[in-house]
C-alpha cells in the first residue's frame, strides 16, 4: 500500500500572461509529512495548494489525493483547508460556522472544536458574533475551525496572518500537535522561523517551478559558513579556490562542519589578504531561502 497522500505529476497553470506554475511541476507528499511550501510572493505556492484541492484547474498534468482525483468529493473526506483570506459572515458566531461546516463534512464533534478554540485562546468567543471580533480573533477562530478533531490532511495558507506573537505561537503548537497525531500538514507561510519550528520538510517554489524539496535538515547543504569581513572579498575568494559568495564587504565561505572552523581561520590568516574579522555562521532557514531564491551557489 502506497504511503503517498498527494501526488502532483507534470502540472502547469497559467493565469493570462502569468505562468503561475511552470511546465511539468511535480511533487509527492507522504502521509504524516509536515511540509512547508516556501517561496517569494507570487511564486505559485497558493496556486499549488488550490490545484491540489481542486479549486484551481491545472492546464495540464495530473493530481491525486489519496489516489483519487481532486474533483472527486470522496478525495476531500477528512481534509481541511484554511485559505489565506476569508471573511466570515458578520451575523454568525463561531459555533454557527462550525455547525455549517459540519453539515457538509459530518466528521467531527463539537467538543473537539471547543477544545481547539480553548487551545487557540479563543474559547470565550464561541458565542460572540464574528462581525464583532477583531481580525486576530477571527483568525484564531478560523484556525480552530479548520484544525479541530483529527483531520487526515490540513492545508494552511498563511495561518498566522494577522496574529500577534502569542497567536503565532499558538498556531505553531497547533500545527505541531496535528503532526504529532499523524495528520499530514501542508503549510504556506512567509514566517520562516515558524516553519523551521513545526515542519520537517520544505519545498521551495521559485517563479512557478519547484527548485528544492527535501528534509529541512538535509536542505542545509553546508551546515554552516564562515563570514570573512574584508575590503577585498574578490581577492579573498580567489585565494580560497574561488569558493564562496561575495556579499558587500564580506565573503561567505561554506564549511562542511563546525570542526573545521579553527583550521579555516588559520588558512585565511595565511592567505595574505587583509581581513578585519571572521565568524562562524550557522545557516538558518532564512539563509537557505535566500540562497535558493536568489539562485546562489557556493561553487563558482
Amino acid at each position: 500500500m502506497t504511503n503517498t497522500t498527494i501526488s502532483v505529476e507534470g502540472i502547469s497553470k497559467r493565469f493570462g500572461k502569468t505562468q503561475a506554475l511552470a511546465e511539468n511541476f511535480s511533487i509527492e507528499i507522504s502521509k504524516g509529512q509536515s511540509l512547508a511550501i516556501l517561496g517569494a510572493n507570487g511564486a505559485g505556492k497558493t496556486t499549488l495548494m488550490r490545484a491540489v484541492l481542486g479549486l484551481t484547474i491545472p492546464d495540464a498534468g495530473n493530481i491525486s489525493l489519496y489516489g483519487l482525483s481532486p474533483t472527486d468529493p470522496s478525495s476531500r473526506i477528512g481534509l481541511r483547508f484554511l485559505p489565506e483570506r476569508i471573511s466570515f459572515p458578520k451575523w454568525a458566531t463561531p459555533l454557527q460556522m462550525y455547525r455549517q461546516l459540519e453539515r457538509v463534512r459530518n466528521e467531527g464533534r463539537e467538543i473537539d472544536f471547543v477544545h481547539r478554540a480553548d487551545n487557540m485562546a479563543c474559547g470565550d468567543l464561541l458565542k460572540r458574533k464574528l462581525g464583532k471580533m477583531s481580525k486576530g480573533q477571527r483568525q484564531r477562530i478560523a484556525v480552530a475551525l479548520m484544525t479541530c478533531g483529527t483531520p487526515k490532511t490540513v492545508f494552511l495558507d498563511e495561518p498566522s496572518s494577522g496574529l500577534d506573537p502569542a497567536g503565532r505561537m499558538l498556531v505553531r503548537s497547533t500545527v505541531a500537535e496535528l503532526a504529532d497525531q499523524g495528520s499530514t500538514v501542508i503549510l504556506n507561510s512567509h514566517l520562516l522561523g515558524e516553519v523551521e519550528k513545526v515542519c520537517d520538510w520544505a519545498a521551495f517554489i521559485h517563479k512557478g517551478a519547484l527548485v528544492a524539496n527535501d528534509r529541512l535538515e538535509d536542505l542545509s547543504q553546508f551546515k554552516g559558513s564562515a563570514v570573512i569581513d574584508t575590503q577585498e572579498p574578490d581577492a579573498m575568494k580567489a585565494v580560497l579556490n574561488n569558493l564562496g559568495i561575495v556579499r558587500d564587504k564580506s565573503l561567505v565561505y561554506p564549511l562542511a562542519s563546525e570542526d573545521g572552523f579553527a583550521e579555516f581561520t588559520e588558512l585565511v590568516a595565511r592567505s595574505g589578504v587583509n581581513f578585519t574579522g571572521i565568524k562562524l555562521h550557522r545557516e538558518s532557514l532564512e539563509d537557505i531561502f535566500m540562497r535558493i531564491m536568489e539562485g546562489e551557489t557556493y561553487v563558482s
Binding site: F15, P73, S74, L79, F88, P89, R103, V104
Partner: protein, 276 residues
Amino acid sequence: MFLNALEHMTRRKLILIVGILALGYLLLFWRGIASADPQSLRTEGNIPASNADLAFAALSIAGSMLSVMVWGLTIILGASILPDEMEAGRMSIWAALPQSRFKVYASTTLAPFLVSVTVGYLLFGLTALITSFYAPFTPSSIPLAVFSMPIWLSATWAFVILFSMMVGKIPAMLITFILEGFAVGMGNIVELAKGIPELHESTFYTVARIVTFILPFERGYRSVQMGLLPEATVIEEALAFMGFGGALPFWEIIYPAIWAALLFFLGYRLFLKKDL
C-alpha cells in the same frame, strides 16, 4: 449545503428591508382597498362596477408594483450570491469540503431562488387575499398562478446568476434590469397585437415576438396575473392595453423554465471551470 446557503440568504439585511417594505405595502394596500367603494366606480356605459371589476383594478395596479419588487429582489440576490461568496473567500472553503461542485453551485444558487419565489407567493397571495375581503372575486386559476410563479422568476434568476459570473455583480444587475425592461416592453407589444390586427402584421411585432423568446422574462409574470385576476369582468378589452391579451398557450408558459434550465446548466459549466 443548501441549508447553509439559505441561512446566509435569510440573514442578509436586504431580506429585512424587503420584509419591512412588503409589510408597509400590504398595510397601505389594505387601507386603500378597504376604503374603495365599487358603487362609486363606473364602467363603460355608466354601469356600476362589480366587486370583480374592483378586484381587477386593485390586482392589476398592485401587480405592477409587486412584480418590480419581486423582480428586483431576484436580481439583487441572484447577482450577489456567487460573487459575494467568492470575494469573501468562503466559496473555496465550501468547495474544499467533501461535496461536488454541482452541489455547491446548485445549493448556493437555489437558495436565493427559493427566497424570491417565497416572497413572490407571499406578496401576490396576500394581496389577492386582502382584496377578496373587500371585493370578493373568483380568481381565473389559482393553480396557474401558483405554477407560473417559479417559472416566471426562474428566467430572471438563471440569467442574472450566469451574468454575475461573467461580468460581476453590479454589471450583471444593470444588464438584467435593462434587458428586463426591454423584454417587458416587447411583451406588451405582443399582447397589444392580439387586439390590433394591423400591429400583428408589422415587422415591429415580429421583432417583439423574437425578443420574448430570446429574453422570456415576462411571460411567466403574465401567467401569474392571468391566474390571479378575476374570472369575469366587464372591462376585458382594457386588458390588452394593460398588457394582458388573454391566457398564454401552455408551451409558452413553460418555455421560460426550459430557457432557465439551459442557462442554469451553462452557469454550472462556467462555475466548473472557475478558479475558486
